[in-house]
């Protein structure tokens, strides 16, 4: 029965105009992760090698998520069909990605995608929905121009869950190739800032943490998939 339900949900998601099938390929290579201009959690700036991977070009929308969870309730601040799904726990986000044979991005993958091919260290006003009143709410997931990898709204709109457990000083010991985060922890990392956070919070290297069972009106997610080097997911 469980397998039948799973197959049914995959079919629904694959045929419901979901953006999650629309992925950008991030090529293998090195990038500089972290920043020396922030708190100890972001320090030091350090070089990381990542194999190629795919990342959803868009945040998961309400329409996407309702196909997965019919009982899902949209938040008032993110209510349109193509606005990002919010008030989703890390566990629910993980389960959603899994049903599409995807996974949540690692923290390193998210940051590499966020920085773009040029390794940006700031937030470009024209690609990010941020620093606005709380009552402004979210934008549809494809509203603003994409970054250099063709990915939308990594900065601003909604915070995004990533897969890694959060450890404050992880960068002081993290592996230089395909870091996966600590093996255990109490909180997961979240990234990117939301529509009402000012620019500091949306900068590429900034790390934040939240217990995985928490839901926020300003927190959503997108999914990722390993590329050829890793043999896919």
């Amino acid at each position: 029965m469980k397998n039948i339900f799973h197959a049914f949900m995959v079919l629904v998601l694959m045929t419901s105009n979901v953006e999650s099938s629309d992925e950008a390929l991030i090529p293998a290579g090195e990038f500089v992760m972290g920043t020396d201009q922030s708190t100890p959690a972001e320090r030091p700036a350090h070089k990381i090698w990542l194999d190629d991977f795919y990342l959803d070009r868009f945040e998961i929308s309400n329409q996407n998520y309702e196909a997965f969870d019919p009982n899902y309730a949209r938040s008032a601040s993110s209510s349109c069909d193509r606005c990002p799904a919010t008030r989703v726990t890390w566990y629910e986000a993980k389960a959603y990605c899994k049903i599409l044979n995807q996974r949540l991005p690692t923290e390193a993958e998210w940051e590499k995608a966020r920085r773009g091919p040029q390794g940006n260290s700031d937030t470009e006003r024209d690609t990010a929905h941020y620093a606005l009143p709380v009552k402004a709410g979210t934008l549809a997931v494809d509203s603003l121009p994409a970054n250099g990898y063709g990915i939308h709204h990594l900065a601003g709109n909604v915070w995004e869950w990533v897969n890694d457990w959060h450890e404050e000083l992880y960068y002081q010991k993290s592996p230089v190739k395909n870091p996966q985060g600590p093996s255990k922890g109490l909180r997961k990392s979240v990234r990117g800032g939301s529509w009402y956070n000012v620019g500091w919070y949306t900068q590429p290297g900034m790390r934040f943490q939240l217990a995985p069972h928490v839901k926020l009106n300003s927190l959503g997610f997108r999914c990722a998939r390993s590329g050829q080097a890793a043999g896919g997911d």
Partner: protein
């Protein structure tokens, strides 16, 4: 210039409320401070539920007891630096206030950046009660100047109806701004312009006879004695004049729980607390809360 001291309706003699050591230290601060101009213009204000005909029973509220500085300085809300009231005096030490600047913008004749050290207004001392929404209160001798003096200097446009205040943003030294990342930092507050111009609305630069320490909102903070304490924003870094009611930190987080006015009222539960009584830090007793925190005679007319 000669100074004329005009008694206010909420004024009582400073000797009636001010311990001698504080009185003497206040004179030192007023006499030597350069950043706020002539100390000879200082007027000394206080308040009294007895002289103003307030309804409180005298034995329930003793205005002659200023909260001891050791208590007022070790029991603070300043969520930028954490949620433990007893720790803020230590955790806020990292805030650097030298060279403090205040941006001025919005509906104002000359948008500009003010250097705090160059602000020059006649100083006063005012002894106000501060009523926290968490149902506790303190009695504090502030030093500063009426906000309306600054507003007049800034010359808001005729279309301006509100004033918005924003505190600093520096999550590197203020861990609360990072840990509670989902909140709309930096902290903001606002007033109607008629509230802001009211004689009781005060910009504090000092406390207990000396400049504000960081935990009290150095170098410049608002003090609005008839509103819950969270309206009295600390460490002001930006002032903006607006036509529409500005979104503030708490009204944006919980619009059904916090309203823009936030006037103290004992009959209306506010936020998570009943508001009929208040605790006095360092004492076991509680006292009745008064409408407008005891300043109804002065401010109730704003809300008719």
């Amino acid at each position: 210039m000669a100074s004329i001291k005009i008694p206010k309706s909420w004024q009582i003699s400073e000797q009636e409320v001010t311990p001698e050591d504080i009185y003497l230290r206040r004179r030192e601060f007023l006499g030597t401070s350069l950043k706020l101009g002539s100390a000879t213009m200082a007027a000394i204000y206080g308040f009294s539920p007895f002289t103003n005909g307030w309804s409180a029973e005298p034995e329930q509220f003793s205005p002659s007891t200023i909260t001891p500085e050791i208590i007022a300085s070790r029991f603070n809300n300043f969520y930028e630096f954490g949620v433990e009231k007893q720790e803020i005096w230590k955790s806020s030490r990292k805030l650097q206030t030298e060279g403090w600047r205040i941006e001025v913008g919005g509906l104002v004749k000359n948008p500009q950046t003010l250097e705090f050290e160059t602000l020059k207004f006649p100083e006063e001392e005012r002894i106000y009660r501060l009523r926290c929404v968490e149902a506790w209160s303190v009695v504090i001798p502030w030093i500063g100047f009426p906000l309306r003096l600054l507003i007049d200097k800034l010359e808001p446009l005729a279309s301006a109806r509100y004033i918005k205040f924003t505190t600093f943003l520096d999550p590197i030294i203020a861990p609360g701004q990072k840990k509670r990342f989902w909140e709309p930092w930096p902290y903001t507050e606002g007033l109607r312009l008629d509230e802001a111009r009211h004689d009781l609305t005060f910009m504090a630069t000092g406390i207990y006879g000396h400049p504000l320490p960081n935990q009290h909102g150095a170098p410049l903070r608002l003090v609005i004695p008839w509103k819950y304490g969270f309206k009295s924003i600390k460490s002001i870094a930006r002032i903006e004049f607006t036509r529409e009611e500005p979104e503030t930190f708490y009204t944006s987080l919980s619009p059904l729980v916090y309203d823009f006015d936030a006037n103290v009222h004992p009959d209306i539960p506010y936020a998570r607390w009943h508001q009929a009584f208040e605790r006095i830090p360092g004492q076991e007793e509680t006292v009745k809360t008064l409408p407008y925190n005891g300043y109804a005679n002065q401010v109730a007319g704003l809300y008719l």
